[in-house]
């Protein structure tokens, strides 16, 4: 089974614990080399964030546990990259042709 090298999650969480604390805890997980958290939207009580994790073996269950302990809930898994090396999404002519829609 190949290891997860990059994982992008859409998460809803309370304001506390802060993104700093959450990033710190995620960064401490085994197999995680880098964490990026971006604020997407902020509300009176909650905030919607995008979590990007990179490493040589990112364990989704461990990540989900940290997020849930922080009171957050994972809305969706937006991107997963696995394999021996990390590759990026390739843009196809269809994507380029439809870019005027975006």
């Amino acid at each position: 089974m190949s290891e997860v090298r990059r994982l992008v999650l859409d998460v809803l969480k309370p304001h506390q614990p802060t993104m700093l604390v959450l990033a710190d805890k995620l960064g401490d997980l085994e197999g995680v080399h880098g964490v990026d958290i971006t604020l997407i939207e902020i509300d009176n009580k909650v905030e919607n964030i995008k979590i990007t994790l990179e490493g040589d073996d990112v364990d989704f269950q461990d990540v989900a546990e940290v997020v849930q302990d922080a009171g957050g809930s994972i809305h969706s898994i937006d991107k997963v990259s696995t394999g021996k090396r990390l590759i990026d999404e390739v843009e196809t002519p269809q994507d380029a042709g439809a870019s005027w829609l975006r």
């Binding site: 309370p14 506390q16 614990p17 604390v21 509300d43 009176n44 009580k45 909650v46 302990d69 809930s73």
Partner: protein
């Protein structure tokens, strides 16, 4: 780490302390505890001051006998401070947690947010209870030393301790507000003076 591979007592203690610090930050305990502490300590000091002043002007000649009175009153205030703030804090925290759950559409009791709310309730109640009791209990010390200090001097020393406690509370509040420490200390000592004068007037009025 112990030989069995499980964390030793020191590591567990450190981890426990780190968890409490984490809850402390999440639940923002510091600011609320800072409000409860001077408020309840002030109550405790003024209550004990009233007992000492009333006893002095009422003709009590054995200040040592006041020790049990003040200690009992202080402990009752401590219990009252603990339970009062525990119940009100629990109600507020539970309400806030339920509102957050409604927004999140998920239960939060078993998360760090829920644990932090429970920790905050207990921590704040402990601070409030301790603050209520400690001021009066400290004032017992000079009264208990009546045999060493003498009757009048132990009363004066108890007033002195009360004034000192009020000054320290004023310094604490001054540091919190980043204002002038002398001004906030004088304000609290004046409040003590008002309580003192009211006790004196009660005696003059023959109550």
């Amino acid at each position: 780490m112990s030989l069995s591979g499980s964390p030793g007592p020191a590591a567990r203690l450190l981890r426990g302390l780190a968890t409490l610090r984490h809850y402390h930050e999440i639940a923002e305990v510091g600011e609320i505890a800072r409000r409860y502490f001077p408020m309840n300590a002030f109550d405790g000091v003024l209550t004990a001051l009233g007992i000492v002043t009333g006893a002095y002007f009422g003709g009590v000649t054995e200040p040592a006998s006041l020790v049990v009175v003040i200690a009992s009153a202080s402990l009752s205030l401590g219990v009252s401070g603990f339970y009062g703030s525990y119940l009100s804090e629990q109600a507020e925290r539970t309400r806030a947690l339920r509102e957050l759950e409604d927004t999140m559409l998920s239960r939060l009791d078993e998360t760090d947010v829920g644990s932090a709310a429970r920790y905050a309730t207990l921590a704040i109640a402990a601070v409030a209870g301790f603050a209520s009791a400690i001021g009066g209990l400290i004032m017992c010390i000079p009264l208990a030393l009546q045999s060493v200090l003498g009757t009048a001097a132990s009363f004066y020393a108890a007033w002195g301790v009360a004034a000192l406690e009020l000054v320290l509370l004023g310094v604490f509040l001054g540091r919190v507000s980043r204002g002038r420490l002398v001004v906030s200390s004088v304000k609290l000592v004046l409040a003590g003076g008002v309580a003192f004068v009211l006790s004196l007037l009660l005696n003059v009025a023959g109550v």
